[in-house]
Amino acid sequence: MKRPARLLFPVLLSVYVLAASSESVQAQTYGSDFHRVTVTVATITLLQTNIGSINLSITGSSVIAGQDLMTVSDQSSTLLWGTNSSGKKVTVRTNLAAPKYSLKVAAINPTSGTAASEVTLSTTSTDFLLNIGRSSGSCAIRYTALALASQGTGSDVHTITFTITNQ
């Protein structure tokens, strides 16, 4: 009668070990842990031109004999923007209160948003690009200067300011 009793321990141990390992195979997961990661995105509004200064010069090729109006255009610079806010537009103005000649500006081929109509620059901010909310993009800046022969010679120096603002 003592022999079966002595065998009991190894049998029970085997059962325990088998049960434990079988459970391990079933679950396969040893453990897990977590933490929280927060992503914040600030309000970002960026605007820049790729060229800091532009020189427009009315030359002989801009003049037609018999016409008072002389014009010259420049489309060499680009305006770049990025905004992650909705409902934005770009306005433009000059610091020159009384220019001798007329200077117009227009946004050409914007990659997003809508170009406003060509505007004659003044010290009052005027729409340049509309509907640029939550986008990045670029457009060519086209300046067109108009001078009359009757206005004679001279020069104007404008500091043009483009601004992203609420639409």
Binding site: I44, T45, L46, L47, Q48, T49, I51, G52, S53, I54, N55, L56, S57, I58, T59, G60, S62, V63, I64, A65, G66, Q67, D68, M70, V72, S77, L79, T94, P99, Y101, L103, I141, Y143, A145, A147, L148, A149, S150, Q151, G152, T153, G154, S155, D156, V157, H158, T159, I160, T161, F162, T163, I164, T165
Partner: protein
Amino acid sequence: MKPKRISILLQVLLVFVTVLALLETAHAQGASARQVVTLEVLELNRIDINMMSLTLTIQDANAQAGITIPAANSDGVLFWTTNGENKKITVASSNASPRFELKLMAVDVTPRAGVPVPEIIFNDTQTKDFITGVTKTSGRCQIRYTASAPIQAGVGRETYVITYTITGS
């Protein structure tokens, strides 16, 4: 005022100034871009003509008077523009000793665009004033050529190269 209060006041002021500076920096960096555009208009003079060549043919005569009847042409139009001051338009012929007689006159000059001189006779290659008092203006006029030939000049053909120039007075 106690030193402690002054210190607190200064700290509050510092924070206020810092916040203002940050706000200003963000505005300048983010929301606007500047570009300097310089427009320069130098002195420009332009002159052009719509008809590069024309022919005048004397083909009739007045038997009683014993003279040929002059031929005229007013088809040519001269255009000019200048943003300079005290300019004039001159004219010169390439024919140093013409056999026939060629005259030139400006007709219907744009008001305030210049003052035409009386009729010019091309009897040499000297440059002659055609329109004077051209200042910061654009204008046009008809060019009237009149050709005549004395009987004794006979028949033949002559070519004139007429050069119009806008120049300083």
